[in-house]
Symmetry: C2
């Protein structure tokens, strides 16, 4: 994938503010950034945002890049990952509609962000967002509580990576996706798997082969069904949850 010039707005997939998907963006941002903001505050926020549509497997920024923007996903899916020098990869998180990413330190972003599917993003510069934070104290609260939420999830993932078996890891992953689907108002008994086996493996600290074998095993034991690639049916949610928690 040649690096298209997204940051410089020359990418031909970039949509402008008048495009149809921007209305959708407004809706989604209600969920994410602005759930408890007033109409005026939402409008003020809208003045500093920028919208873009990106293809699949598109690198949004790399670990170490200067931190200049915060991103909000309108729709699509994004993965965040860190690399070791020899290419070993750890996926930090999968993000979907309504999720925010782009926090970092003065050393730059601490992970690489890449689209999984074609994705619509909203983007805010840190500079403009900072001045907004002065204006709207509740926005700061909201950013804080989202960072705490991410922190709690990261700690849960540390338990998974350090102490769970392959079977428990995959079960936990499916439960996570199911809970996520529930929050988005989707059915919990069937989850979409837009990411590849390689992505799942790098998220769970396993290899592609082990992930594949574990899926097969869970299917054989009737925990799940795999009707089509990219989809998974959870036959017994409770049993899968117990498996995920090592019971």
């Amino acid at each position: 994938m040649p690096p298209l010039d997204f940051e410089g707005h020359k990418l031909d997939h970039v949509a402008d503010l008048k495009s149809p998907q921007c209305r959708n963006c407004d809706i989604v941002r209600e969920i994410a950034f602005c759930a408890d903001l007033s109409q005026d505050e939402v409008k003020r926020l809208a003045t500093v945002r920028c919208h873009a549509a990106l293809p699949a497997s598109y690198t949004i920024f790399r670990e170490g890049d200067v931190v200049d923007h915060v991103y909000s996903i309108s729709n699509g899916a994004v993965k965040l990952y860190k690399l070791l020098s020899d290419g070993r990869r750890q996926i930090i998180g999968f993000l979907f509609s309504g999720d925010i990413f782009g926090l970092g330190t003065h050393d730059g972003y601490c992970y690489t962000a890449e689209t999984i599917t074609p994705t619509h993003l909203c983007r805010f510069t840190h500079r403009k967002l900072d001045s907004l934070l002065e204006e709207i104290p509740r926005l700061e609260r909201r950013m804080f509580s989202m960072a705490v939420k991410d922190l709690v999830a990261a700690q849960e993932q540390m338990l998974l990576l350090g102490r769970k078996t392959a079977k428990e890891k995959v079960a936990t992953f499916l439960i996570q996706l199911s809970l996520r689907a529930e929050k988005a108002g989707m059915p919990t008994s069937s989850v979409a798997l837009p990411m590849s086996r390689a992505d799942i493996a790098d998220y769970l600290g396993l290899t592609i082969e082990t992930v594949s074998r574990t899926f097969t095993q869970l299917k054989r034991d009737n925990y799940i069904g795999l009707p089509a690639s990219g989809h998974c049916v959870l036959n017994d949610w409770r049993a899968l949850k117990d498996l995920a928690e090592g019971a």
Copy 2:
């Protein structure tokens, strides 16, 4: 260890505000909470704090407990951990002087906090701290940036747990302690190891035996020296760092 009544102030190790170590607490809090607060703001903060001295291996709160306080370590060492139902444990972090802990969600604390060594703590109720956050916006900024710092560290630890070998894990751990010592103004070539091998193992997603063997191996290869229990000398910082990063 019988559970002493710390929360009800009946613990005989609890020190009051006039005790000598409280002056120390003021100094340390300069580093932690209040680095950029005014004298008045620091004094205001002092009105809502409560101080306690705890013995080693003392459980401060448990995963799932109602979130009512935020804690700041004056001196000593604390470990945070999560448990699976069958007893498998993952240590989320080791905390030292100046560190803050006690964030959580409405579901309660998401980890258990336990002292490693005898420890002096400052404690703030969430309720009082919340009202302070209204008064002192900069305090909210500070809490936010500390949550981000924790998040970045958690993501780095995910890379360690998911993708590093035992040798790389132990090397990374020693480098972490060394960098921490540097920030505290201590020499980087020698680090204190107040925690047990079991704690180190549960932090790195290994067993006691593997940690022990890896220390022995690093010593044999002259990366480190182990002059006395609880101490480790880093003979070649750069080489250890390269090892930690998988080079």
